[in-house]
Amino acid sequence: MAGTSERRTLVNLSVVTGSAVMLTASWLGIVRADTGGTTFEEVSTTQRVAAPYALTPWAAPTPPPAMAAAAAEAGTSLQAAPASAPRRVVVVRRSRAS
């Protein structure tokens, strides 16, 4: 019984590790989604990329590999917003969540 449990644990670990590696690789553009795969993430990505919708001229449904780096950097490129007090502007409307 113990051996079976250990094997299950090893199998689970390999699945989790494999999924993480494939997801990271697809983000970096090493693995393309249309090469097929077995993980949930790959199936989902394949569906998105394979959708035969008509593209507008600017559209890029597959993000460029550089976006992985942009995603990593995005969280650190923010700066503090200025204080509101010095800006005395009469606004016509207000952008708010609705």
């Binding site: 959708a51 919708y53 995005a74 606004v91 952008s95 609705s98």
Partner: protein, 296 residues
């Protein structure tokens, strides 16, 4: 045309009405008929609303196929923005919204318990196919266009005003706003954002998404309408409010939703599209470096 009539035509007219469960405000110069734009907004609601039993979107979710040029355009744009935000924005969160309790209009939801218990299943939505005006769904799951439809409709109305000859106009669809030209004081339209700031909109759009609006309580506690597509649950990413300035309102609307849902991926999409954002992140107001150019 007399000088008096010319002055009257140049003076912007305004119109207020209610549609898509929110308040709309239009202003345009050039004597443009704002009622036509209003009619278009109402028509867009009949096509894109998840809460109307006869809308093209409802037909699509029920019959798995629907044909309408506006529905196809919005869904296609949503798919594009899903790719650009690496999935932080996803129109396939309809089932997750239902599971979170957002199963009726927010006006009807207020104070009432949700009809369904929260499940928190990951969004594994249907395969979406857009071919011409026809949209088809394969596999389980529902579409929700709540993160893009209103912004897209603002763009539609703005396009009508411009085509009718308005050089200066502002379209406000419940806080999703597109402006062009100048206001009555001769300066670009000033729109309030964040905590006492304002942006100048001349040929640009702004939209805001927040977990503080359209929120309710379910069996798991507080819930809101911005679903994290990875978890299928209302987002808990640390960004409470996101205001985005972009070239068009549909993009601003979707990016604001994406940033609240998945801040890091949403901001990457924002950078890829050259847009800017002001965020309430962990109770601090922060912004992208490029936001400064929009502040008035």
């Amino acid at each position: 045309m007399t000088a008096r009539a010319a002055r009257a035509a140049a003076r912007p007219a305004t119109l207020e009405f209610r549609a898509m469960n929110t308040d709309w405000w239009l202003s345009a110069s050039g004597g443009v008929d704002l009622r036509q734009a209003e009619a278009t907004v109402h028509e867009a609601e009949t096509v894109l609303s998840r809460f109307r039993p006869d809308s093209a979107l409802t037909v699509l979710n029920r019959d798995r196929e629907s044909s309408h040029p506006w529905l196809a355009a919005v869904v296609q744009r949503g798919l594009e923005l899903e790719g650009i935000t690496l999935g932080a924005f996803d129109v396939r969160v309809g089932a997750a919204l239902l599971a979170a309790g957002y199963d009726r209009t927010f006006e009807e939801l207020a104070g009432r318990p949700p009809a369904l218990p929260p499940t928190g299943v990951a969004v594994d939505g249907p395969l979406v196919t857009v071919e011409g005006e026809r949209v088809r769904l394969a596999g389980p799951g529902l579409l929700d266009l709540g993160g893009i439809a209103k912004g897209w409709t603002v763009d539609l109305a703005a396009g009508l005003l411009a085509a009718a000859g308005a050089d200066h106009y502002l379209v406000d669809g419940g806080g999703d706003i597109r402006g062009c030209g100048v206001g009555t004081d001769g300066t670009p339209w000033a729109v309030g954002v964040g905590d006492g700031l304002a942006v100048a909109l001349d040929g640009a759009a702004v939209a805001t998404s927040s977990t503080a609006r359209r929120c309710w309580r379910n069996e798991d506690g507080a819930a809101h309408h911005v679903i994290d597509p990875r978890s299928g649950l209302p987002s808990r990413g640390g960004v409470r409010t996101a205001t985005v300035v972009a070239a068009d309102t549909a993009t601003a609307d979707a990016l604001a939703t994406a940033i609240v849902a998945q801040p890091r991926l949403g901001l990457a999409g924002l950078a890829a599209l050259g847009a800017d954002a002001l965020l309430d992140q962990d109770d601090h107001w922060v912004m992208t470096p490029g936001m400064e150019r929009w502040l008035k």
